[in-house]
Amino acid sequence: EAGVTQSPRYAVLQEGQAVSFWCDPISGHDTLYWYQQPRDQGPQLLVYFRDEAVIDNSQLPSDRFSAVRPKGTNSTLKIQSAKQGDTATYLCASSPDSNSGNTLYFGEGSRLIVV
């Protein structure tokens, strides 16, 4: 069974540039999460979806970050006008059922450096 796939694995931007991260969850998983993990810190939830619906985006900096999951499968996280403080690894995770024991399966992450 294929795991969670993310791309690109790495991105280096100058401040003010935009970037999009893509995530393909495990087939059949209805719940998809985006986390931000700054260096030497734990994962911090940005947004999560159940199918195509946003369940919680309260931690997503809405002025520059956006996330979509239009068909309830793949998802894209976009950062517009990146700042140095956005430097982090962006982790996508999927789960078969948000109402279950919430085992999350993580992708390898997309590492972003903003200079």
Partner: protein, 111 residues
């Protein structure tokens, strides 16, 4: 509100010694606890999970027992290996089904 506390930011041990990483939590919701392990430059992976009070759960040589009376879910291993060096996160399923993560414990095993 829901919270998870991992008191040790860094634990350094010699190979062969026992491991114990502390995790306590606070929740008014039903209790589901997790341990995730993150090796260097890798994504977090589930190590253990439990929702059953006083039942030991084991995986890959690690074990933990959920104690609701003390709100604890400490991670243990009888004999540390070099390959156990990693970040360990305790997490709680919160009232909105999100995971509430602890701050993590970095475990370093030395020869």
């Amino acid at each position: 509100g829901d919270s998870v506390t991992q008191t040790e930011g860094l634990v350094t041990l010699t190979e062969g010694l026992p491991v114990m990483l502390n995790c306590t939590y606070q929740t008014a919701y039903s209790t589901f606890l997790f341990w995730y392990v993150q090796h260097l430059n890798e994504a977090p992976k589930l190590l253990l999970k439990s929702s059953t009070d006083n039942k030991r759960t084991e995986h890959q040589g690690f074990h933990a027992t959920l104690h609701k009376s003390s709100s604890s879910f400490h991670l243990q291993k009888s004999s540390a290996q070099l390959s156990d060096s990693a970040l360990y996160y305790c997490a709680l399923r919160g009232s909105n089904y999100q995971l509430i993560w602890g701050s993590g414990t970095k475990l370093i095993i030395k020869p």
